[in-house]
Amino acid sequence: MASGRVATAAEGLRAYGLIAVMWIRSTMTYRFSFAMTLVSNLVVNFFDFVVILLMFGHVRGLGGFAFGEVAFLYGTTSTAFGLADLAMGQVGKVGRRVRDGTLDTFLVRPAPVLAQVAADRFALRRLGRLAQGLLVLVWSLVVLEGVEWTVAKAAMVPLMTVTGALIFGSLMTAGAAFQFWAQDGAEVANSFTYGGNTLLQYPPSIFAGELVRGVVYVVPLAFVNWVPALYVLGREAPAGLPPWAAFASPLVAAGCVALAGLAWRVGIRSYRSTGS
């Protein structure tokens, strides 16, 4: 059973790679158009970035956080979200495929359906969002003051972007699985992913305690950046978590991936038994 899972995952990654490469190559044939979209995406994201800079220029801090610290929160969650959106953003379109019946064509191909859905219309222009997140993150590391860097803290920064991406990706997948029953459920899923990303750009101290507890214990978004980032910043973990909770984020991410995989399988099974 376990080796079967590994084989399926390997097949899925291979199919994902094949499909993604095909889409990249096809966009590259229209080089000018690709360059234009990439440039316009970068410009839009750059102006986003300028807005943030302007905001930080006027506000000394937010909820007791210095502006370097807020930038760090913004950069970490944006990078994680950008990674997840690049790799898995398309799964949210599955509801449309269920409605118009085109999911059937994925089911007659010898590759995992999730990989085919996720890699569909793979677009490098989504790198724009990721680039912006990375830019803010690097900039925040430059302006951060008073952080006593250790090896563990330094390692935590790249680790949290990866685990954060896994948590966001899991939410996207679970939300997509939900669309097998509620075909218009895309908005609900988006409120968790896009909404979660926006929430995590700000320090937890500005939100109500219930909301923070929900984000920690119910939908474990806090493990994307709040919990590990506050550890890096040398601050107390949110919602009464112990300090070592930061190191639990890979475990939380693994749990999310497992649950999302389960939800997806249940969704596919339901589709195959009802055909709609």
């Binding site: 094949l18 095909m22 118009d100 064509t105 195959r272």
Partner: protein, 325 residues
């Protein structure tokens, strides 16, 4: 081809029950169970070409979806090439080709060639085999000028040919065609039919064809299965289907002048329109003595014989079956 495999496709009491939820009033919902496929049992031997017909909603598509592993049966046993489609969908996928007439399996925004290249890798088709198959399809389906065109710019007939090629690049043992000639012009239809006939004859590919166009069946399939209300109501030859429907042929005669309805033995007039009359006679009887008799007694100018209309035959079969249920 390998030795006879009479149960290459094997269905035994296969059922598919859908639960349909219907809104009743403002909040209440009513659940209703619909039997789309109801105890279906049949076998298809390797290398056969079978027509699978029936009215809309009879369960044709549901059957094909179960045979391809898209849908899981609610009951019964189903095997294709010894594989249970519901349990081993991806393993089966390498051995079957599917063409949905109404929607494409190609990547809509990409040129045909890109779709084929992806199939090549995804199905792990050996390079030499892929090139050979692609060259053959390109030649026989006349795809040469279309390879660089994005699928969305192709006409329906061009797209269908592209889809059929895509379904065959990995040398499938079974090909399912769901309405492969729907909406095609006469030339495209002829091309597609000719290709399928050769494919079945030369490669020994087993073909299951669902269609509304009975000419497809007449020109391609020795065996026909008719499904209605999820059950098999006929399984046999096309000529047998005509007899089963108690079919009649029609003799159309043009006369020099208007006369009262012709009276001859073994036929009856079903329609009169000016100097033209339509005479129905049993499909099993010969037309020659009838023609001689009419020509001897009436001022005959011209005549033609019309074969029974299969659609009418099937419609009659359904009509006869319905009270039984």
């Amino acid at each position: 081809m390998t030795a006879m495999e009479p149960d290459f496709i094997d269905l035994d009491g296969v059922e598919k029950v859908f639960e349909v939820r219907r809104r009743v009033g403002l909040l209440r919902r009513e659940r209703r169970r619909v039997r789309a496929v109801d105890g279906l049992t049949f076998r298809v031997a390797r290398g056969e070409m079978v027509g699978y017909i029936g009215p809309n909603g009879a369960g044709k598509s549901t059957t094909v979806k179960m045979l391809t592993g898209i849908l899981t049966p609610s009951g019964g046993r189903l095997r294709v090439a010894g594989i249970d489609p519901a349990r081993e969908r991806t393993r089966l996928a390498r051995r079957i080709g599917v063409v949905f007439g109404q929607r494409t399996t190609l990547w809509w925004d990409l040129p045909l060639r890109d779709s084929y290249r992806l199939m090549h890798r995804m199905y792990r088709i050996p390079d030499a085999r892929f090139r050979e198959n692609l060259d053959r399809c390109v030649e026989l389906l006349d795809l040469g000028a279309l390879l660089e065109v994005p699928v969305r710019q192709l006409s329906l007939g061009q797209r269908m040919r592209g889809d059929i090629a895509a379904a065959l690049l990995h040398d499938p043992d079974v090909l399912y065609l769901d309405e492969p000639t729907i909406g095609l012009d006469v030339v495209s239809k002829a091309k597609v039919r000719g290709f399928l006939r050769d494919l079945n004859a030369e490669q020994g590919t087993t073909v299951l064809l669902t269609t509304h166009d009975l000419t497809d069946i007449e020109q391609l399939c020795k065996r026909v299965m008719v499904i209605d209300h999820g059950r098999l109501v006929y399984d046999g030859t096309l000529s047998g289907l005509r007899e089963a429907g108690a079919a009649t042929r029609t003799l159309v005669v043009d006369l020099e002048r208007e006369v009262p309805p012709i009276e001859v033995a073994g036929a009856r007039v079903v329609r009169v329109e000016g100097t033209r009359q339509w005479l129905a006679f049993p499909a099993s009887a010969s037309a020659a003595p009838l023609v001689a008799e009419v020509a001897g007694a009436y001022p005959l100018v011209d005549l033609s014989v019309r074969e029974p209309d299969i659609e009418a035959v099937i419609a009659r079969m359904y009509a006869e079956r319905r009270p039984v249920r």
